[in-house]
């Protein structure tokens, strides 16, 4: 991976963060640690949040007007961390301004709009990448390395579970409103749907999913999702995404891949140290690469050389959205839903 060095004289890319909420901090930290890019400003519809984040970042400029930020010549790109429903219009505005974009997942919440966003960046000749951060975590890369090395032959069955308890605030959280988040499949399900599709190196053809409002019957999203994906060459994936488990401290990653030549497992209890204290037992995560920093580098690589092979392509981002949409539809119908149906009239 080509890293910028101080001596080659290239000015670091100026990046604005749009949406100064929870996940923006992680991107801000990655930018601070990078020599190839710098935080050039903060945009948020909420002036209080924008100014507070700008101050915390050492006094960078802030604004509530995205157009004004994009008009700045020292701003070459944006990282967008706003609620999912706003992704489409914000992305189109950034493409029109001729800037690069790292969009928090999901790229958008419908398949046609995801395609439209990708087309807009193609037309502008700038880079768009969706932040499917799990691809950049050590555990996911370890699994991918093993598969790439042929360790299990052709992978035919993948199981991935990310299980936890409640992390969202109260009923006012936009995530709980399907109109704003697209539903849990688009909000978090896409992480897993993207990861297993990447691991399996195959194209999804249909999804059968079941969902559950576990924490409260009144939830309009499914805080527990069980998603089965069938692939073109016959492989299967079973993904579970949960924010509905008890105890709420549960933090579980479980990976099982069966291939024609072997079996690969990340045991649920096998990737951290167990800490037993007066207040209970917990898992101490191992030191690991910062996934947000690795992701930032992958995005900067794509900007530096748009023709080079990408860690996460625009087509991957569209596919993840389509899988999320298929999941929500399948839960509603109680039947499998094909990607063909979801992508009807949408170029892949």
């Amino acid at each position: 991976m080509a890293r910028h060095s101080v001596i080659d004289g290239t000015a670091p890319l100026g990046v604005v963060i749009v949406g100064a909420g929870f996940i923006a901090d992680h991107h801000g930290a990655a930018l601070r640690a990078s020599s190839r890019a710098r935080l050039a400003g903060i945009v948020d519809v909420d002036a209080g949040r924008a100014s507070a984040a700008a101050t915390a970042a050492g006094g960078v400029p802030w604004t509530t007007d995205l157009a004004a930020a994009l008009a700045r010549p020292d701003v070459g790109a944006a990282i967008v961390c706003t609620p999912n429903v706003t992704h489409e219009p914000i992305a189109l505005q950034i493409a029109a301004a001729g800037k690069h974009l790292l969009m928090e997942k999901p790229l958008t919440i419908t398949a046609p709009s995801a395609r439209a966003v990708v087309d807009a960046f193609d037309a502008a000749g700038t880079v768009v990448m969706a932040a499917h951060t799990h691809r950049f975590y050590d555990y996911a890369r370890a699994v991918d390395d093993a598969i790439a090395g042929g360790a299990v032959g052709r992978p035919v069955f993948a199981r991935l579970a990310l299980l936890g308890g409640w992390i969202w605030p109260d009923w006012r959280a936009w995530v709980l409103d399907p109109a704003k988040s697209g539903g849990h499949a688009l909000h978090n399900g896409v992480h897993l749907l993207d990861l297993v599709s990447w691991w399996l190196r195959d194209e999804p053809v249909s999804v059968y999913a079941r969902g559950r409002a576990q924490t409260a019957a009144e939830l309009r999203i499914h805080d527990y999702l069980e998603m089965h994906v069938e692939y073109a060459r016959g492989a299967d994936a079973v993904c579970e995404m949960s924010r509905g488990h008890r105890p709420s401290t549960l933090d579980r990653r479980d990976v099982l891949i069966a291939g024609t030549e072997g079996v690969l497992q990340l045991p649920a209890d096998g990737w951290g140290s167990t800490v037993v204290t007066e207040s209970g037992t917990s898992l101490l995560h191992p030191q690991a690469a910062n996934g947000f920093a690795v992701q930032l580098d992958a995005w900067l690589d794509a900007i530096a050389d748009p023709r080079a092979e990408r860690a996460m392509t625009p087509a991957d981002a569209v596919r993840a959205v389509a899988l999320g949409v298929a999941t929500e539809l399948s839960i509603e119908r109680g039947e499998p839903v094909t990607l063909d149906e979801v992508m009807e009239g949408v170029r892949r």
Binding site: Y208, R210, Q214, D236, P336
Partner: protein
């Protein structure tokens, strides 16, 4: 025979594959070491010459009387209390029904029947006869699973709402009937025993990944149970693996999520793990799952009560397997009839 010892007739020496003989590989050794049973006779399945030859050989080897001329004669033997049936699948149901009608208790190799309709015929006769008809779903007696059943029933995780299970065997001879027919009864029985909730809806995927033949060697079952509990079960036979004995379980686990907690059951434990120059292996002491299955058989016969699992449980599992087959072909979920509530 001492008081309380039950005389056993070994009937049939076949299974769901050319080299499958659970009678001699599993049940005979377990009967041999169990205090409550004594093998008193062997017989081949009527109409199956190879099976009858196997019975003759075994009788000679064990010093048992020569196998009876026909099944009626074998079942008329008053020394026989229990018939252990491993008749070939297509003749199994008739053999079990004959044994039940003769007033004998029956242990049946899995699967009890290849279709739900056949299983229901057995269950109806078992209900009439009042004798024990125990399908050999022995994995529910695994020490990790048996303890978990108690924990769930005792409310340890609150109200269960989801179960995830993997039952992946490595190596051994693929079943020509497919691994859905061959293995599904085990994890499905465990999930039913853990939750006590019948299945209402089945969606399934059947694939062939490791064998050249046409039979499935991988199945995914997505089950929707009463009270909205969902379960997902993977079943398969992968290629052989260095650390798993041929036809041994490479992955065998269950996760039960409940309203108040999570229970992880790893059925590769309890184990002492041995590491040497060759692949590592595991060992443990104490009664195995088949020994515990025989404990249940003996207890049910002695108490004059139906066994658990019962023939009715096998019917429900056969319904699920039938539905999985239908769903695998159609690509759509299949709803089960819910008119069987009384048979629980």
């Amino acid at each position: 025979m001492s008081e309380g010892t039950l005389g056993v007739l070994l009937l049939g020496f076949a299974g769901l594959g050319p080299d499958q003989d659970h009678q001699q590989d599993m049940y005979l050794p377990a009967f041999g070491t169990h205090d409550g049973f004594e093998v008193v006779a062997a017989a081949g399945t009527p109409g199956d010459a190879a099976d009858q030859a196997a019975a003759e050989r075994l009788a000679g080897k064990l010093g048992l009387p020569a196998p009876a001329a026909d099944l009626d004669a074998a079942l008329a033997d008053p020394a026989v209390d229990v018939v252990s049936v491993c008749a070939p699948p297509e003749r199994r149901v008739d053999a079990v029904i004959a044994a039940l009608r003769a007033g004998k208790h029956v242990l049946v190799d899995k699967p009890l029947a290849l279709t739900a309709a056949d299983a229901a015929r057995v269950a109806a006769v078992a209900a009439e006869s009042g004798t024990v008809c125990l399908p050999a779903h022995h994995q529910r007696f695994h020490p990790m699973i048996a303890a978990a059943r108690g924990a769930v029933a005792g409310g340890k995780v609150g109200l269960p709402w989801n179960v995830q299970a993997d039952f992946l065997v490595a190596g051994g001879t693929p079943s020509p009937a497919g691994e859905l027919a061959n293995f599904a009864v085990y994890p499905v029985d465990v999930v039913l025993a853990l939750t006590g909730l019948r299945v209402r809806r089945v969606y399934a995927r059947l694939s062939t990944y490791w064998t050249d033949g046409g039979a499935d060697d991988f199945a995914l079952l997505f089950l929707t149970h009463e009270n909205g509990l969902t379960s997902t079960i993977s079943i398969g036979r992968t290629r052989e693996l260095a650390d798993t004995r041929p036809a041994g379980l490479a992955v065998h686990r269950y996760r039960v999520s409940g309203s108040h907690g999570v229970l992880d059951i790893d059925a590769s434990r309890p184990a002492v793990v041995l590491r040497r120059a060759e692949a590592s292996s595991q060992t443990w002491h104490g009664a195995g799952t088949v020994d515990r299955l025989l404990d249940e058989l003996h207890a049910a016969v002695s108490a004059g009560r139906p066994s658990s699992p019962s023939a009715a449980d096998a019917v429900h599992i056969a319904e699920i397997v039938d539905a999985a087959r239908t769903s695998g072909v159609s690509g759509h979920p299949v709803d089960l009839r819910s008119d069987q509530e009384g048979s629980r």
